[in-house]
Amino acid sequence: MALTVPRLRRLDPLGALLAVAGATAVMFLPFVIFKSNRVVPGDPRGLLEVLPAWAAFACQASLLLAATAALGVSNARVRLGAALLGVTVVALAVAAAGDALTPAGNKVVRVAPGAGVWVLLVCLGLLATDAITRMRPGPGRRVLFLAVFTAAAGLALAHGTFDHLSVMREYAVNADRFAREARQHLWLALGSLAAAVVVALPIGILCHRVPRLRAGVLGTLNVIQTIPSIALFGILMAPLGALAGAVPLAAALGIRGIGAAPAAVALFLYSLLPIAANTVAGLKRVPRAAVEAARGMGMTNWQVLTGVELLLALPVILTGIRIVLVQNIGMVTVAALIGGGGLGTFVFQGIGQTAIDLVLLGAIPIVALAFSAAVVLDALVEVMDRARQ
């Protein structure tokens, strides 16, 4: 890339908004919150109070650079670079603040990122996503961005960069449980998705073939979707509890009125509509002439279905799967309320103890998982769509 000097041109409206919000955060919101122990109210600290002058100055200079790029540089690569520099600097600064405010060996004090840091990260994140959108990267590049970002974050975590921050303190205390609940979370989200694909795909195919069934079946699935998740858990408790009571094998398999079973069943039921409806929509989009020609040339019904119809409908079906996966990753959180486990356990435990750091220990990975699933599946849909165009 030729090195052109970025020039200030017209003010960028989104950039202006982000710059103003970021500047307000730096000036008026606490950078970190210091607590002498886990549950006492915190004590706000500013950037200049927690970092050596040179570091605070470097941090502010980088943020100024990002704001300048946001305001007046139209080159998307420069904007992305500035946003990523800002994110890195803010993350390192807050980690350094954690190190500085924690006396050696002390495991009781808590240093949490303050509102200022969160606002800055949101602003910089928006700046980065806006820049990436403007660069119109292909599906491969988007997944690459995600992989690089994940690797960088993973390396920092493994290296212990953030170990003195309160969320990582909660992690250190709960490391075993975290691994178990994360596995449970993925297992519930992916397992109910897989079961839903196995059931909803044939339902969708049937609804496509027999239009008389379509309104009734999709309508029923739609009604299930409108039941709030807590209510659905409640509705499922009674029959599953009765099943466990009546059939010893069911109980032996872990089926109970509360716990993972009603959660998995509820997620499964929620997953049916998007997959079945998208299967119908995808099959409807298949050119009739192609199906007619396939049959006319002597393909068997199975060959027409798998080799032509489903293949051509795949991008739309995958869109349904993407909706379900992202939805499930979020919804598994609620499963913790009925003893289903998953990362939601930390969220609700944290709410109960008013320990916001514990809430974050559950919430941050959930958001990261949902976001990554969306990026990867969107890329997959685009690749498929491109191949068939």
Partner: protein, 311 residues
């Protein structure tokens, strides 16, 4: 040879094809014409059993088509439809290879066959074999559709309004190509259209259908000169039937011995074209020339006009 015996298809109480019997000669082009909804497609689709007849049967070379599973029968019969139905997710070469793959041909044989068909249909293999259908023009897609139908060398080719989506100039070219292909491969072609000009241009024999019934099935000239039904004469057109008749005979067929100092016309030109040429030049007779430039004979205006009358 294909025999349709009392072929009938009913949907509910209505017979959309009603007791059709006809014999389709080998190595010929038979065209089925009729207004929209007259049952042409249904008739065609009963031959490859995309539609199962309510009554009657179809014999190909004497064998009842219900004697084998429908999908195996269809692999032996080429099928081209309006809109072509090319597979958008497969390349041109993969599209053409569809039936040979179903039949389990080995890859080398498939490759040779696909390359051969691409050149027969004037599609440069280097440029088009790996293109996707959406990258082709309408005329090219149509040719791929026909090439795909002919890939496994079927003896019978069914075509349902195959040129319906083409503009007139490309359609005329596609019709000429089809005549060429028929001569080259000796395929028995059954073609459905609602366009009488197309029927006259392509058909060795033409079948006229209305409301599911076969009204007349004969050579085009007979349809013009001895229509079996008022509907047939309405279909063939009354106002220009003389010109239609002239268009069915070539100059070569009608040429008489003798020399002419009038314009030279090709033996393959129709009498209608020769008459037009004579009117244009103000000449009384034309010299008919073979393709190799030798003189075949001559045609006078009077001789041409005599051919435009029945009997």
């Amino acid at each position: 040879m294909i025999s349709l015996e009392n072929l009938t298809k009913q949907y509910g109480a209505t017979a959309v094809v009603d007791g059709v019997s006809m014999v389709i000669e080998r190595n010929s082009i038979t065209v089925i014409v009729g207004t929209s909804g007259s049952g042409k497609s249904t008739l065609l689709r009963m031959i490859n059993r995309l539609v199962e007849p309510t009554r009657g049967r179809v014999l190909i070379d004497g064998a009842d088509t219900t004697g084998e599973p429908a999908h195996l029968l269809r692999r032996r019969i080429g099928y081209v439809i309006q809109g072509y139905g090319l597979f958008p997710h497969r390349t041109v070469a993969e599209n053409i290879a569809t039936v040979p793959r179903l039949l389990g041909w080995d890859e080398a044989r498939i490759r040779i066959r696909v390359a051969g068909l691409l050149s027969v249909f004037q599609l440069d293999p280097g440029a088009y074999a790996h293109a996707f259908p959406h990258q082709l023009s309408g005329g090219q897609q149509q040719r791929v559709g026909v090439a795909r139908a002919l890939a496994a060398e079927p003896a019978v080719l069914l075509m349902d309004e195959p040129f319906g989506a083409l503009d007139p100039i490309i359609r005329a070219k596609a019709q000429d190509d089809l005549l060429d292909i028929q001569r080259r491969f000796g395929t028995t072609i059954l073609l459905v259209t609602h366009d009488m000009d197309e029927a006259f241009r392509l058909g060795d024999r033409v079948a006229v259908m209305s409301h599911g019934r076969l009204l007349q099935y004969d050579r085009p000239a007979v349809l013009l000169t001895r229509p079996a039904d008022p509907f047939v004469s309405r279909m063939t057109g009354i106002s220009d039937r003389a010109m239609r008749l002239l268009s069915l005979t070539t100059a070569g067929e009608a040429a008489l011995p003798g020399a002419s100092d009038g314009p030279a016309v090709a033996a393959s030109a129709s009498l209608r074209e020769v008459l037009s040429e004579l009117m244009w030049c103000g000449a009384e007779s034309a010299a008919v020339m073979d393709a190799d430039g030798t003189r075949r004979g001559r045609l006078t205006i009077a001789a041409i006009l005599a051919r435009g009358r029945p009997g």
